[in-house]
Symmetry: C2
Amino acid sequence: MTARMTQADERRMANAIRALAMDAVQAANSGHPGMPMGMADVATVLFNRFITLDPAAPDWPNRDRFVLSAGHGSMLLYAIHHLLGYDDMGMDQIRAFRQMGSRTAGHPEYGHARGIEVTAGPLGQGIATALGMALSERMGNARFGDLIDHFTYVIAGDGCLMEGVSHEAIDMAGHLGLGHLIVLWDDNRITIDGDTDLSTSTDQKARFAAAGWHVLSADGHDTDRIAQAVQVARADPRPTLIACRTVIGYGAPNKQGGHDVHGAPLGDAEIAEARKALGWAHPPFEIPEDVYDAWHRIAARGAMARAAWDRQLETAPCRAEFAAHLAQDCAPLTRAMAEYKAQLAAEQPKLATRKASQMALEVVNAALPFTIGGSADLTGSNLTQTKGLQPVTPGDFAGRYIHYGIREFGMSAAMNGIALSGLFRPYGGTFLVFADYARPAIRLAALVRVPGVFVMTHDSIGLGEDGPTHQPVETLASLRAIPNLTVLRPCDAMETAEAWEIALAARETPVLLALSRQGLPALRKAAGENLSAGGAYVLRDTDGARDVTLIATGSEVEIAMSAADRLADEGIRAAVVSAPSFELFAQQDADYRQTVLGDAPRVGVEAAIRMGWDAVLRPEDGFVGMDGFGASAPAEALYAHFGITPQAVADTARGLL
Amino acid sequence: MTARMTQADERRMANAIRALAMDAVQAANSGHPGMPMGMADVATVLFNRFITLDPAAPDWPNRDRFVLSAGHGSMLLYAIHHLLGYDDMGMDQIRAFRQMGSRTAGHPEYGHARGIEVTAGPLGQGIATALGMALSERMGNARFGDLIDHFTYVIAGDGCLMEGVSHEAIDMAGHLGLGHLIVLWDDNRITIDGDTDLSTSTDQKARFAAAGWHVLSADGHDTDRIAQAVQVARADPRPTLIACRTVIGYGAPNKQGGHDVHGAPLGDAEIAEARKALGWAHPPFEIPEDVYDAWHRIAARGAMARAAWDRQLETAPCRAEFAAHLAQDCAPLTRAMAEYKAQLAAEQPKLATRKASQMALEVVNAALPFTIGGSADLTGSNLTQTKGLQPVTPGDFAGRYIHYGIREFGMSAAMNGIALSGLFRPYGGTFLVFADYARPAIRLAALVRVPGVFVMTHDSIGLGEDGPTHQPVETLASLRAIPNLTVLRPCDAMETAEAWEIALAARETPVLLALSRQGLPALRKAAGENLSAGGAYVLRDTDGARDVTLIATGSEVEIAMSAADRLADEGIRAAVVSAPSFELFAQQDADYRQTVLGDAPRVGVEAAIRMGWDAVLRPEDGFVGMDGFGASAPAEALYAHFGITPQAVADTARGLL
């Protein structure tokens, strides 16, 4: 199935990438020519001899995945897509590199053009996302056999390998033995500041070997050696690192091999010399037909493979189950969740919302076969495991629960990769405060619009004795700040069930659940409409006019309810608004918002800082919460110490009247 | 100088740690007995035979540093401090473990008790912080010879080694050859979820060796073997990992070696059996005199060493310079900075604030010998290097500039360690958006109250073509959310100089500078009082009454000024407030704040989301900024596209009138 050519042909195919990269960067007067020119030979061999994909069907589930972890080399990807014939990557796009509205953004942006597997640019994350893709592939293979059986290739640079998240990904991939993951390291010995030996002495090959990887080397400009290495890598049951020794900016005679070629246009004179050195006589943005033909043969090979796969799918016994995974249809959950919520309404359990989350997950995981759970080594605390879920282990990928290890960032990036695979819906747990560790991947999830669910427990000073390093205070605000992330902080078991319904229905928005360590009473007495979906709603109304509106989230709703009772004893009519999600509330129309918030003075209650509460509070309103870091003590003592009590809320309310 | 004892004596010394750990956790009904009991022998040997410190002079600059990276094992540290005789660590504190107001917080908190070198708990950061300490030690040694010549010891667990930041720290320490850094890995093969083989297969010893470390092993319960390993480690020029094979919860006969002993009290029955198994007949919270005596001998040895060092310092030729480093007196900067600001006032340069930062740093670094610069491989972009600063290189620590590599988190954690060393003031650069990568260390700096300066450039969509992964939008809000972090976003060269003055004067608050990529005109025409220190001030006043107040930060102040010109043409009197720091403005008195903000309608202008702007805006006020992620295009095109223009500001202002 490989479309073989002579080395000379592949050199011309690679030079087409080089020419497009240097010309596009020059036209934009901005960009990174060094990596595309240095890795052009490696990428050409990879696509020409190995990668199977169909530009006409970019979402084909069994395509090989190609992840450009070193996303600043985006012109490598765009050039390849153009040459392969992706119909949304015409020369107009190459000419518009890095310009407003073009598909050819400075870094590859998922969704901007077909076939871009992930948004890359924040270094190291490409590898970790690819780990998630490679894990998905094995999980898919365990369920659907040959229907899912492909490779995940990554091009990574020195920066990717220096970033800490690479360690988390490498460690995990080696542990799980993800043999279909192949990382091609652009070993050009150059970083932005200068030679890599300014800042690192690590023997990367030994490092990967220590993590259980298969390790190979190749001259990154010797196409047959590259091909030989990839061939050997594909046959090995371990994930493989291929150290590709390259010259950055290969072909630019005066600048190649130096750090000046990394991230700046070459200049017209150097480009002219490079054309001579490469034997590339064609004007900018012109590619000779024979080179197009060679690249189009790769696409044609992929189209045939895809057609054969389509026929295979038609007769596959698992066809319906496969379709269900792809569709991620949550309809099967509707009835089971309704029954569960009716049961909650009947039993009114007092539960930590992390426990309520586990109970909801029992229902979710039983109804939906495509959820994949996990935790960053806090399974018993996050309560992310349910009865039916067997762990994924090295060599057995039939399971649905991943022990991600103490790797919050790696977990979250891997979840992005799993979500992008299209077959599974991942959720993963850690403590809320460690959202900081995972934040770059949470941001990427929001930017890429992939729907993982971050299950963040121990969501306030209610965590207690572990103290301020473990107590989120500013964390909720910092997460609510991320565009296209829905943060939900449910107040009881019913809202937690609703939060899971919302999370699973979100197809283009990652969802973060902030859940309590401590037990919380049932405040929502009846099942029925998903009130959390409005973001905020009146939980306790007043008879007639309101004197004050108490607005709270999560574990503080109970406190607001108690405060309302106290105020009622004094004849003050206090409504209580539960506000599990500021983002969802902001999406409601003005009438609904006004009905919920009312005109009376308001008091916000949340065991966190006030930032972001201007979503529902005015300057003259009150707030009961935190204004600095927490402390180490039992939870009840902390709530008393920091003055987050029914008494304090009632006092604040009274002070406003 | 080592106080040798028999192994039997050391076993009793270690059992005292075990007893205090299990009894304190039991009394608190919360905490982690497993690690202190497992590592008690290692820690005892380390203190008894090697570590030199003086509990009566906990800030002695040449003490050995002991960092408990696995901070959940805090009772190990508290027990040791109690036994050594730290006078603020009486048995009352041990009894009050994890209770409100005690010094014995759930995780070690810097500043809560003497001798706690760093707040630990967020895993992996202890190693990276210790790297900074060990680097400081070598830098101190290069400057002051024997006056600074000590070791930095770290106890790290599996979690620390799984976290990505450990890779960044290990890579860097190996590269720099920090031979006085010794990491004792608690190799107990247990994590919270279960055995380590649930989630990792990495050969840690091979991994460290790949990064250039010296690697040793020892039975963590064989005191002579431990001592032998430490002896060999100290003699080696490379940093050393000692893999200490331990039994978690050693001494608890029914629970040791399992994950249940990690983070929960043992229970009274198991504690009773442990007492028998250990041959420890003493009641809870009682330590026999001979054991106290043995531990006190360590302290006495340290006190002698410290006294000798004091005498050495008295006659040291570098005494004044040493004192200047310790005092970090910024007075020498006053005159040079005044001259520089006068020059700015005279020349009115148009500069990117990152360039202005470099110019200010030229003045700072020339005047203050204790600043240590660096960048996470963006030196030419962050402009953190100045003329006089030579790089720190392997084997030569006399320099003042650190090539941190592509390791934003590792850099920031190392900066914390450098700041904690007491001899140096670190600053380090990256792009503002990558504050997300560094965030856990920035949070820790704020919590620990150490004064590093984070130099974050390319602080908005003004970054341009690199696109949304590289453009901060929510980043400023997320940073302003962190308690005890001062964020400064200067609008021109003068404000940038003021920002550096503020940053250097802050002794217990980390400062983050958000700096522009793009050129900005001089808006502050006169030198003089540091107006930025008030957080916000009237940059352009109106003649008489104000019709509207435009409030802006950084690169958007120019836009607000242009808008005010337009409005003036229409007869609308617009004041412009420059607000480089919301945190500093919040610290001003109400009168000042009112004078600056006025009563007129307000328009906020910042190329970022509105969250946090309720610090200065009311619901009825206007805001011109971002409400989602950015895009890839030249900066001017992006400002136009997202409507952050003088026209838009003027329109918004007019709409409010």
